[in-house]
């Protein structure tokens, strides 16, 4: 166990950011999911929420393809499919939506929070779902709150659906009392096991009041106010952060909690903000940090020096590339992201090798040309591209798993490293 834990403050302040090539911005065909996909994990997090997509058969088909077998476990999401007669006139559409919601709530009285989720078709025909949400809230308000956000492909990419959902919740949060002690808010839906680990660590650090956003139940959503300090657990929460800041909350800048270093830095940002003693901080995080380093050690042997290429998917690409480069010795060739929030990712970007290409947006055919030219050891991409690239002899890691699996924090660092090591190990063991 090393006695001194290097703390990221030094990295952030003392080192000048490495000279970096300008960000490559591309426009063309994008091989990405739309924001509706966020429903798949959001509905599991908020246990009394229901997500009603107002869209087309395509939207329903997408959800069913993305949810896989989950569709059969009585999921708390559905699609109100717009039909020809709905397109005929707007008034009819309003009545139809009310009818569908009435029927849904009558059958599911346990639902406390209903999200009307906008889609491309509903946005294009300018169906006013926010008005509908207000109207339905007035009608069902006693038992169910009705909100709306857009998960459409024209506005949101994959994880941005969570951002849109949380951002619409922020104005609904109660206000903290102005003279209350500072509270810490963890922002972003995390698997319950990870959330519990973080809550335990913050308790050990001695931060009295820590809450998660979103909470597991609609009635337990945290209050927010000028005494709120928040840590983003996910890099795709730009609008949510802005909405929280609009209510006076203050964002704590940090790396994202991936790997030993990312998690240490993230926890440290809170420790500093809450005036936790440095020695106490080090002693609290030391066991977890050491476990994380031990857990990723064997993957490091396999991954060090390997070249990795990220295609854009979830906005997790930059922090994950940082983790793989900094802690596992991988060489990121290109890190593609659907959207780059420079402020939230400033520390992450500073830690990436200077010659790593950062690309924002996508022209998938051109990007695949670059993948083929570079022939990376590992390509992180969506399921539409993974098997075709494997068939070309390129080893891939499908990206969606990174959103669905517990990967944050010290005790998931080994699992996270193994997600990248496993495809390479498999490539080596197969004799067919």
């Amino acid at each position: 166990m090393s006695p001194a834990i290097p703390l990221p403050r030094e990295v952030a302040s003392d080192c000048a950011p490495p000279a970096r090539a300008p960000i490559l911005r591309e426009r063309g065909q994008r091989e990405v999911f739309c924001g509706l996909t966020g429903i798949i994990w959001l509905h599991r997090k908020v246990q009394d929420a229901f997500f009603l997509v107002v869209g087309s058969r395509t939207c329903a088909h997408l959800l069913q393809s993305a949810a896989g077998v989950m569709v059969f476990a009585e999921p708390r999401f559905a699609t109100a499919i717009i039909e020809e007669r709905d397109l005929a006139g707007m008034a009819d559409c309003t009545a139809e939506l009310d009818r569908v919601v009435d029927r849904l709530l009558a059958r599911r009285p346990d639902i406390k929070l209903l999200f009307l989720v906008g889609s491309c078709p509903s946005e294009v025909i300018k169906l006013d779902l926010s008005r509908a949400a207000q109207r339905l809230s007035a009608k069902h308000g006693a038992s169910t709150r009705v909100l709306n956000y857009s998960g459409s492909g024209i506005e949101t990419t994959f994880t941005e659906g969570e951002d849109a959902c949380l951002a619409t919740l922020v104005p609904e949060l109660a206000a903290t009392s102005p003279d209350a002690a500072p509270e810490l808010l963890i922002v972003g839906a995390l698997p319950d096991v990870v959330e519990d680990q973080f809550l335990r660590l913050f308790a050990q650090l001695g931060i009295a009041q820590v809450r998660s956003f979103p909470a597991r139940r609609a009635a337990a959503m945290p209050p927010v106010g000028p005494n709120t300090r928040f840590l983003l657990a996910q890099p795709f929460l730009g609008d949510t952060a802005r909405a929280l800041e609009d209510r006076g909350a203050i964002r704590l800048d940090a790396l994202f909690p991936f790997g030993a270093e990312g998690t240490s830095n993230w926890l440290h940002a809170a420790a500093v903000a809450f005036g936790i003693d440095e020695m106490h901080f080090r002693s609290v995080i030391a066991p977890g940090r050491e476990r994380a380093k031990r857990a990723i050690a064997h993957a490091r042997d396999r991954l060090a020096g390997k070249r990795i290429f990220f295609l854009p998917d979830s906005q997790l690409e930059v922090p994950l590339a940082r983790f793989l480069a900094q802690e596992l010795g991988m060489v990121p060739l290109e890190v593609g992201t659907p959207y780059l929030h420079r402020a939230h990712l400033a520390q992450e970007l500073a830690l990436l090798p200077a010659d790593t290409v950062i690309s924002e947006g996508q022209d998938v055919d051109r990007q695949l040309d670059r993948v083929r030219a570079a022939r990376p050891d590992l390509t992180v991409c969506g399921l539409g591209l993974a098997n075709p690239l494997e068939a070309e002899g390129l080893t891939t890691k499908w990206a969606i798993e990174l959103v669905f699996s517990p990967i944050h924090g010290f005790d998931q660092a080994g699992d996270l490293a193994d997600l990248f090591a496993r495809p390479l190990r498999r490539r080596d063991v197969l004799r067919v």
Binding site: G28, S65, G68, E84
Partner: protein, 584 residues
Amino acid sequence: MQLTVWTYEGPPHVGAMRIATAMEGVHYVLHAPQGDTYADLLFTMIERRGKRPPVTYTTFQARDLGKDTAALFQTAVRDAVDRFAPQALLVGASCTAELIQDDPAGLASALRLPIPVIALELPSYQRKENWGAAETFYQLVRAMCSGAPAGTVATPPAKAGAQSRDGGNEVLSAPTSTFANGPRPSPGGSRPVRKKANIVGPTALGFRHRDDVVEITRLLETLGIGINVVAPLGATPADLARLPDADFNISLYPEIADTACRWLERTYGQKTVRTVPIGHGATRDFIAEVAALAGVDPAAALDTSRLPWWSRSVDSTYLTGKRVFIFGDATHAVAAARVARDEFGFEVVGLGCYNREFAREIRTAALVYGLEPLITDDYLAVEEAIARLQPELVLGTQMERHIAKRLRIPCAVISAPVHVQDFPARYSPQMGFEGANVLFDTWVHPLVMGLEEHLLTMFRDDFEFSDHAGASHLGHGASPILPREPGEGDREHSANGGGGATAVVSPSASPLHHSAEEAERSPSPADAGEEQEGWSPEAERELLKIPFFVRGKARRNTERYATEHGIAAITLDTLYDAKAHYAR
């Protein structure tokens, strides 16, 4: 608006993708918002293809709306033609692009491309996947057979004038077909002219299409009939232009092939074989039909499957009269019903399909079995029907597999939509004689498992018949047939397949739809108006001693008997009276 959790079919542009992906040398430019590329993974994951589907999406975003989506579309078309150099191009709009009303046909036409361009009009808010596939294939066949010159855009017949029959034939270099006169006596009395057939209908993402084509090709070769073109699976646009060279067409999957076959019939006088060769008897009928059209002796191909003997062997006696519920696409459902009754000795108690376009076929078949057909795309209605009928076997799609698991009824899959395990590595056709062998094994397997499970449970728990012991093949959870405690709300539905990051259970979610229990308790039409007092504890206990896979039938029969005889409280005697009454 229609409240939907599950859909049997995707939108029509997914049908068009199934055609484009099945073929070689075709590219499809789809005007669609960012996100619609999700459909690619149906082909790369479920069907496990090693190539990206030949589809370019314009993936427009909000900032593009109202200014340059049309330009975006044209750029995408130009880039796709340059990069992929297809022989023919499909262009069309997905549901959202249909609303913004760019005109793919006009925009593509303005580009004066060096290849034929087929513009698709697929009404997303009215039609679905199978229709989209049939329409796309028809438009492609029509355009290629009419010798669509490069640079022109073929549009649907509503806009363009109907192609004249002769006009269509002129562009062909092939001889006119002569099937109508039967086998043509060849000059000098030497070998007769070998007749040629097209195999029409197999696509990408088709349930067992890959192996069905192999099986049918083998059958035709045995008969000495040549294969002219197999389409769309594996065909190029140039191959489609050769379709009229054949003597006749085999419509293997009417959902996809019928529109094109009818046009070929009208335009070139080609006859169509419409018997779908699923099952032993249907395969023999198919051979007879094909042999008659080709003027060959069917005897050579009347090889037999093992199904007849397997079905006659004494081990199969217990299959007699098993009550089976059948649901799927109309073609597979109708074929399965015939096999179930005539070749397995089952009783068909329910028959239905989700594709309304083929409702007539299902109605005709349902008459044969004296049934009211179930034509719906709402899986809740299907679940209700299954819970009400309490069949002993369900034959359906992956959705019926899950419904059956929930109701603890054995099940086999006979139709799309299916999941990844039904695109198997091994050879497993549904059609032809080997297909009949596959059907026998596939359908009997879950039943044998049911019997095996019963015996294992019986010996393990020594007459206790504990229903809380997990059922390994048929899912977990309390049997819906059992009476439930009022407070016993949380029943876990274990997701099938276990692994995978997305497999979860939501233990606290209460059902959106009628649960089996509600269906069980709600009066069936026969009971309407009749007050059902219910079961005495003693009779209830006795019911639990009956193996779970026939318990539902026993409960249903007893209740019907009680109703018919005006018995309010069901006692032990009622149970056994009913048993005697319905004894077969």
